[in-house]
């Protein structure tokens, strides 16, 4: 690793000041992603700002329904919180499908939101990579790209966003709370992540000197059913090949509303408004599920080794809809 210093901060403002004061500073949460990347020289911060003592560790219920989750809540605490399991089972399922118990015990909400792609070329500094070094090229496009994205790619980068949690949050219409030198602001998660386009190095709307303080989840009606399904190469400790987070509101055999997000296939956690449109007002049956899945993957662009993801993502979504909607 490149040598670095550690600064422990006790309140949000000192954290933000420390960030603005040093362009080579980085926040460390649980460290489960950042430290790995530092060992690989993908990240080379000179200063680590340890935010683990900030008071961002609570889960609070909003008066109007919904919930505010502190940025330092550990993934396992969030997954096992009684309120989350009751109100947002899809979030709990997504969290528990990720990584391993040990990593979930360390990983924070803020860190999970900001975790970086698992593209193996990105992880290896002896390869070029547009995300690491803009303009250097993308070896994944003509390389081994089985794990890469089929939605939202560009000719500069095809890296998948790896998070499970973020897929559930995307379906739940979460809002990300950030604080910077100019104060606090809120960014809907669906706007938070950027497509790679020509600048795959810029991944989110978070500014260099901003801190994520938490997320807000809107309340959801109690009649809603939801499910998170993840397909992977082994039963645990494994990122998604494809995944789907689904929320359905069904009455009288008709889908009144649907929220759909996909994982493992997009360059960002992938919300499919198109599929939701198809389902809205449609009968709750297999044909509707299939139509929604076809629509969700309509613009998918396969690479040499990941073409199968298009069909698998459709089937994953269909299975998640079947589980949620009770029809197959």
């Amino acid at each position: 690793m490149q040598p670095f210093s550690v600064t422990e901060v006790k309140d949000n403002i000192s954290g933000i000041n420390a960030l603005s004061g040093n362009s080579k500073a980085k926040i460390i949460g649980g460290g489960t992603n950042l430290v790995d990347l530092m060992k690989m020289y993908v990240e080379t911060p000179q200063e680590l700002i340890d935010i683990n003592h900030l008071k961002l560790t609570t889960i609070e219920v909003h008066l109007n329904g919904g919930m505010r989750i502190g940025a330092l809540v550990r993934n396992s605490d969030l997954a096992y919180a009684e309120l989350v399991r009751k109100q947002y089972p899809v979030l709990s399922q997504a969290l528990l499908s990720g990584a391993s118990a040990q990593i979930r015990n360390m990983a924070t909400v803020g860190g999970n939101l900001m975790q970086r792609t698992r593209c193996p070329y990105f992880f290896n500094t002896s390869f070029p990579c547009n995300k690491r070094i803009p303009g250097s090229g993308c070896p994944a496009i003509n390389g081994f790209n089985r794990s890469h994205a089929v939605l939202g790619t560009s000719d500069k980068c095809i890296a998948t966003h790896p998070s499970d949690m973020c897929v559930a949050l995307t379906a739940l219409d979460a809002t990300i709370l950030v604080q910077g030198p100019a104060g606090e602001r809120k960014i809907p998660i669906t706007d938070f992540y950027l497509l790679p386009g020509d600048t795959p190095d810029i991944e989110t709307r978070l500014q260099k000197d901003e801190l994520i303080t938490g997320i807000d989840l809107p309340g959801i009606s109690s009649g809603l059913s939801s499910h998170y399904l993840k397909v992977r190469d082994r039963a645990s400790f494994e990122f998604a090949i494809t995944s789907a987070a689904v929320l359905l509101d069904i009455s009288g055999g008709i889908i009144r509303s649907a929220r759909i997000a996909l994982g493992g296939v997009g360059t960002k956690p992938w919300r499919s408004y198109e599929a939701e449109e198809i389902l809205k007002g449609a009968p709750n049956n297999a044909q509707s599920y299939q139509a929604a899945a076809d629509e969700a993957l309509k613009n998918a662009k396969p690479q040499k080794y990941n073409a199968f993801k298009i069909e698998l993502a459709k089937r994953t979504l269909i299975r998640a809809l079947e589980t949620t909607g009770g029809k197959s």
């Binding site: 070896p139 081994f144 089985r146 645990s236 090949i241």
Partner: protein, 751 residues
């Protein structure tokens, strides 16, 4: 004897291991230790144009940057008993040529590991890059048949195929696998004057010592190698790789002891691999299932710096009876590191392809897969007509199918269901050679009544300490608590490598004969000693239990080892054995140890030694998502005497788990353009985790092999991984009707 052999005793080193007291190679704390980190090539072929070490050398704490420009010269070892240097034409840091990605091209030595790592990262290397050969398919035109015994035929293969009423002709492929023992490669080297001590994780303590000595231009007596514990090896610690000589070079150059530990990524580039294979199999059979022809042609890969063949077809030449057999192997040279043995080299990949082909034949014949194997059962070795030393494979099939509930299997693919899952049952034959080599051992008994057995072999993690403690204690008639086994140190008498599943079958009889030898010597002393209650008796009338020697006919007449030796006023009594099995040369001096002599007198050339087994798997396949769950694995093994059911089951289960990995998820991926390793960690290179584990049922027939040795035990380390991969692949076919002939069978291949 107190019949310790065959008891499920706990590992004697378990406590040391779980408390961290067992010292692995990297854990010796030497004074003034410096740390070496290797820098590796980032191209697959070319030359080093320039190495700029300015930034590295400017770091405080960096002691040396060693490259081909300033490294000590190495030579080819001529020391007798040298082990195998992994890459014949590539001695590290001797010139500017690069043959593969991840080749060590420099070492940075520093005061701390962190400084050495950072110094390594700061080294700038420029190359003249050339176009590498990266996949077998690219170089098929240059494929060649390696020399040696890898081509085999009998009868007339074309005739056999022509005469067949049913035929199979399919091609199977297996990817590159990496060993990934949990203990990475590690070496510490320390010079004291012209004496060198090496702490190294190696499966060949004795051979590696001699080899390293020779490469450094020293006599074997100048080097001591110590390897007390290994955290696995699976073959990657069998040959000697560059880091083991780079540590002594670096230590010499900085005048301090140096430690080099490869990191996990380097475990994917710098210590061999299992070759990819492409195997074309043709089977011909008559309608009653009799094999009229077997053709097994393997394409494997080697490197530009040495030759290693994954001999996938080897067991196809004798596994079943058939008059017409043709087994061939070809190699292609790639710009990748030289492959090397990986758990069950040959058989792991070979039985996958061959036993899947047999399953395809069974389905085509509409015959039960077990029946097909029984119809072609080889009662003797079909290669040479030799009898098997012992073979109970029929019993394995029988018992395995009972445990599996095979009779409930509806043979039609896709016909069995549990909820939304398709259910499949598959089986395959497991096979691995019953190897045994030469070994020496010494056993000493001390006046306080405890014994020490010594043999320069090593415990790769399989339980060698434990079974040798059982063996020595059993032969001496002592409790295990009073027996200490010493391994992994070249000051001990020469023992076997841990390769070819030979350690137990080789070291065990030597320790036994040495223990019987010292026991006999002590008894002789007692019966000649007027002060002994055993005075005047004959050896045959005396038995030993719990360290006390007494008359068979009168338990009250006797005394302990300690009492006898104490009276003799000697430091200890020693027994020794040097055994070369089948050493029946009449011109040679007979073996002075009578137990060793009796052992050597068995004419082993008359027999074929093979272990066998039957492996079964049940899978649940989600047809919509293509995911496979192995729900039950059954292995029934015929491996001769089971020395310790706990360590034995452990070996078989470990092998079967690896087979699950081979079947469903494992495989190293290389960049298709430049041949560099892409999957370099245990997240991208998937091995099964606990959540993937099925129910295991492992049984042993425990029928002693009457010829392998007086102990009757053949090896067990590798057979567990053979057959199982095919059993799972066959179960997937049975569940889905889809035949995937390219491993691993990931969800995408079942959509």
């Amino acid at each position: 004897m107190n019949e310790l052999i065959g008891k499920p005793v706990d590992r004697v080193d378990a406590r040391l291991k779980v408390t961290g007291a067992a010292k692995y190679a990297a854990e010796f704390e030497l004074k003034n230790l410096a740390y070496g980190v290797t820098v590796q090539s980032t191209i697959s072929k070319g030359r080093i144009k320039n190495i700029d070490s300015t930034n590295t050398e400017a770091l405080t704490g960096v002691l040396a940057v060693i490259t081909y420009k300033n490294a000590m010269k190495l030579q080819v070892s001529t020391v007798p008993g040298s082990g195998r240097w992994a890459e014949k034409d590539l001695l590290p840091l001797q010139n500017d040529k690069v043959f593969y990605d991840g080749q060590h091209i420099a070492i940075v030595v520093a005061e701390t590991l962190e400084t050495a790592q950072h110094g390594a990262a700061l080294l700038k290397v420029d190359y003249d890059e050339e176009h590498p050969v990266v996949e077998i398919e690219q170089a098929m035109a240059e494929a060649y048949k390696p020399k040696g015994g890898s081509q085999y035929s009998r009868g007339d293969i074309n005739q056999g195929l022509q005469n067949a009423e049913v035929k199979i002709d399919e091609t199977y492929s297996t990817p590159v696998y990496h060993h990934n023992p949990i203990e990475p490669q590690a070496t510490i080297a320390e010079w004291t004057d012209d004496q060198l001590t090496i702490y190294d994780g190696t499966q060949a303590v004795y051979g590696s010592r001699n080899l390293i000595a020779g490469m450094l231009g020293l006599g074997a007596d100048k080097v001591r190698l110590i390897c007390l514990y290994l955290g696995g090896g699976f073959g990657c610690k069998g040959f000697t790789w560059a880091h083991s000589v780079l540590a002594p070079i670096a230590a010499k150059q900085v005048g301090r002891p140096v430690k080099i530990v490869l990191d996990r990524m380097q475990m994917f580039t710098s210590n061999g691999r299992r070759s990819r294979t492409i195997q074309k199999i043709e089977l011909g059979a008559s309608l009653d299932g009799k094999l009229t022809a077997i053709r097994h042609a393997t394409n494997a890969e080697t490197s530009f710096v040495d030759e290693f063949l994954e001999q996938a077809g080897r067991s196809s030449s004798f596994l079943y009876e058939s008059p017409n057999v043709d087994v061939s192997h070809t190699l292609v040279k790639l710009n990748k590191i030289t492959p090397c043995p990986t758990r069950a080299p040959g058989e792991a990949s070979g039985t996958y392809a061959f036993e899947v082909a047999m399953d395809e034949l069974a389905h085509k014949l509409k015959m039960d897969p077990i029946q097909l194997r029984l119809a072609n059962y080889a009662e003797t070795n079909p290669q040479n007509g030799h009898p098997w030393s012992s073979k109970y494979l029929k019993e394995c099939y029988q018992r395995g199918s009972e445990i599996m509930g095979w009779s409930a299997r509806n043979p039609t693919p896709g016909s069995m269901k549990e909820g939304k899952y398709l259910v499949g049952y598959g089986m395959a034959t497991a096979v691995y050679a019953g190897n045994r080599g030469s070994a020496s051992a010494k056993v000493r008994v001390y006046p306080d009544g405890h014994a020490v057995a010594g043999c320069c072999t090593q415990d790769i993690g399989t339980g060698t300490y434990t079974i040798l403690t059982q063996t020595a204690a059993d032969a001496l008639g002592m409790s295990m608590d009073n027996v200490i086994v010493k391994l992994g140190d070249t000051i001990l008498p020469r023992g076997p490598n841990s390769s070819g599943s030979q350690t137990a079958a080789t070291a065990g009889p030597a320790v036994r004969a040495a223990a019987l030898d010292v026991r006999s010597k002590i008894i002789q002393k007692a019966i000649a000693d007027k002060k002994s209650p055993l005075f005047g008796q004959t050896e045959e009338t005396i038995v030993v239990e719990d360290g006390r020697l007494f008359l068979k006919s009168d338990k009250s007449k006797g005394e302990t080892y300690g009492q006898i030796i104490s009276r003799l006023k000697v430091d200890m009594m020693e027994g020794e054995a040097n055994i070369t099995p089948s050493n029946r040369d009449p011109n040679k001096e007979p073996n002075p140890n009578r137990f060793a002599r009796e052992d050597e007198e068995v004419d082993r050339k008359k027999y074929s030694f093979q272990s066998f087994g039957a492996q079964f798997a049940k899978v649940l396949v989600d047809p919509q998502l293509g995911s496979v769950r192995v729900s039950k694995c059954v292995g029934v093994m015929d491996i001769g005497t089971v020395l310790n059911p706990k360590t034995a089951e452990n070996q078989i289960m470990g092998g079967m788990i690896w087979g699950i990995g081979m079947a469903l998820m494992e495989g190293t991926m290389y960049d298709p353009n430049n041949g560099r390793v892409v999957t370099r960690d245990l997240a991208d290179y998937r091995v099964p985790v606990n959540a993937d584990m099925p129910e295991f049922h492992i049984e042993f027939l425990n029928k002693p092999d009457p010829y392998i040795s007086p102990m009757g035990a053949r090896g067990i380390g590798e057979i567990g991984i053979t057959g199982i991969t095919a059993a799972i692949a066959n179960a997937i076919y049975h569940a889905t009707g889809k035949r995937v002939r390219e491993l691993p069978i990931t969800p995408d291949k079942l959509l």
